[in-house]
């Protein structure tokens, strides 16, 4: 059953199109990420859902309600801002209690729910601290507790982890996912960090220039990106020129069976570097140009007559070809994605 439904949502600034006819259906309890580079319209979309920006066209529906023209204060959504936007003159508990106060929740219940929310985010002992005396991670948790305590229909997260350092960000990702699973609130996350989107989401919406490029589960979007843009945005990928003739894909001098039905002619093939293996004789021939050790894996660049190919080899004890070594690159036919030449750039 659709829970949150965006229909041809559009935002224009003069002649500039910030969001261009975005349609999206989010199920109840789902965690969906809006992922894209800055200026792709993801934050504008979030602001329209929150009600801080009025859409130029399109509708926003939540369950049975049409939210499009409803004031932000009446939407009942929980929002975590990039800057956290905590109230600096209130303690952590007062910050969390604010939304309940605005709803006229009775004093005893208010205290109970504030304590619950602070415990949920692991801040039970810090309820009397002022935000200024808290670390970035703690402020982040207060912001999350403040958004969740009002039991919102939808939780909106605007780049919530971008101000934290890498280690803390990874910890918070795990925790955020756990908390979201516990309370089961439908969540929309805006991020430019593909790792964060893949780690947290049930589905990812990749956006570019105000349009949706692809909507899919993280594993699917990574395995089968719908466009070169999506492929490049989510991790490293090799895009090689190819020619399709009657179900056979020719890349350089190598031949591969084409998966699925394909039209004959010029095409491009995308393969993730970690799906490529070295083989003795079969596959695409080339010369190792460089190899870089990166701890849990090696990154190699192999010059072939189809262009430079990046290969990621796990550091699992197997021998890694030296620089200038002649190698053959192989992969399973399932691991390559075929696209028309027009879409490749």
């Amino acid at each position: 059953m659709p829970f949150l439904e965006l229909q041809s949502l559009t935002k224009l600034y003069g002649d500039a199109v910030a969001v261009d006819g975005l349609s999206l259906v989010v199920e109840k309890g789902e965690f969906v990420s809006l992922l894209g580079p800055s200026g792709c319209g993801k934050t504008t979309t979030l602001q329209m859902i929150a009600g801080f920006l009025e859409p130029s066209a399109g509708t926003i529906r939540l369950g049975e309600r049409d939210l499009t023209r409803i004031k932000p204060a009446a939407r009942g959504l929980g929002i975590v801002f990039q800057s956290y936007a905590l109230f600096p003159h209130m303690t952590a508990a007062e910050n969390v209690a604010f939304g309940l106060e605005m709803r006229g929740v009775a004093k005893s219940e208010k205290a109970k729910r504030v304590a619950e929310a602070l415990t949920l985010v692991g801040l039970a002992g810090l309820s009397d601290r002022y935000p200024r005396r808290m670390s970035g991670g703690q402020q982040q948790r207060v912001a999350l507790a403040r958004a969740l305590v009002i039991r919102p229909d939808v939780l909106l997260l605007d780049e919530p982890l971008s101000n934290l350092d890498v280690k803390l960000r990874e910890e918070m990702q795990v925790e955020l996912r756990q908390i979201q699973r516990t309370v089961g609130t439908t969540t929309i996350l805006v991020t430019h960090d593909q790792g964060e989107a893949m780690a947290l989401s049930d589905r990812i919406v990749v956006m570019n220039r105000g349009r949706v490029e692809q909507v899919a589960r993280p594993t699917d979007i990574y395995r089968a990106p719908a466009s070169t843009f999506v492929a490049n945005f989510l991790g490293k990928i090799n895009v090689l020129p190819a020619i399709v003739t009657d179900g056979v894909v020719s890349i350089g001098a190598s031949r591969w069976p084409a998966a699925g039905t394909t039209t004959n002619g010029a095409a491009s093939v995308s393969i993730r570097p970690e799906r490529i293996i070295f083989s003795e004789s079969a596959g695409l021939a080339g010369t190792v140009k460089s190899r870089i050790f990166q701890g849990h894996h090696w990154l190699l660049h192999v010059a072939t007559n189809a262009g430079l190919v990046a290969v990621i080899a796990p550091n699992d004890g197997r021998a890694i070809p030296d620089e200038n070594a002649e190698v053959h690159l192989g992969w399973r036919a399932d691991d390559m994605a075929l696209a028309n030449s027009e879409r490749a750039s």
């Binding site: 929150a50 801080f52 932000p72 204060a73 009446a74 939407r75 009942g76 959504l77 929980g78 929002i79 801002f81 990039q82 800057s83 936007a85 905590l86 109230f87 600096p88 003159h89 604010f98 939304g99 605005m102 709803r103 002022y130 200024r132 403040r146 958004a147 009002i150």
Partner: protein
Amino acid sequence: MSTAEITGGGRTPWLLAAPALLLFAGIVVVPIVMTVLLSFHDWGQYKGIETVITLKNWREIGTDSYFFEIFLRTFRIAVLVTAISVLIGTPEAYILNRMASPWRGLFLVIVLGPLLISVVARTLGWALLFGSTGLINVALVRLGIIASPMQFLFSETGVVIGLVHVLVPFVVISVWASLQRLDPQIENAAVSLGASGFRVLRRIVLPQVMPGILSGAIVVFTLAASAFATPAIIGGRRLKVVSTLAYDEFLNTLNWPLGAAVAVLLLIGLAAIIVGSNRLVERRYAQVFR
């Protein structure tokens, strides 16, 4: 370079600071000390200033209700001006801060405009408006709001209006500065939690700009209590405040020691109020804003 040179032991810092210290001492400390000493000297109609130490001037200020009345009036005017300036200046700053970009700059110039015009010219302008046949009275009578012209000139009301006009910009600047420090998302955060516009202002914005309001109020209070031109022109001879009193003692009566005592008392009073309210602000908001 040796460590001693870096840590700067010895005379070097003093030598470097000496020009500024000398200037400060020459134009601030020495005149104040001399004024304080002057306030303890004696004065007589025919003998002039006598360099003896006496408490006569202080006793006179302490016992004569004439002085008490003037100090009380000055305090009352300063408090009123401060309160009205805060009530006008705070919303003004908030509205300015929310304006779109071309208008904001324009209106800021208009708000700060009074500071660009000479106090004397501006106050004489008010005197023209305030007269019994001035624009304000004529308009009020014609509109039937009042039956006969009101007394603005030589009245506390006139002085308060004139001072508010001059001093509101100081509140606007001060509140504006603290509004700039507000997280731009914080109002949205409050709104998303279900707060109405009024509650956002009262519960979220106001407490955060309070230090700005208070520091603006302190500036306005001190300037209003020590203002000279506006009370002199609009208040005239009849409605004396402390600064016009000191001026008259110095230049009309020529009783310099008494004038000095009045000036010193004003200085002490203002210093006490500034330090006191500063302490209050710091204690109240240290936890949150520092």
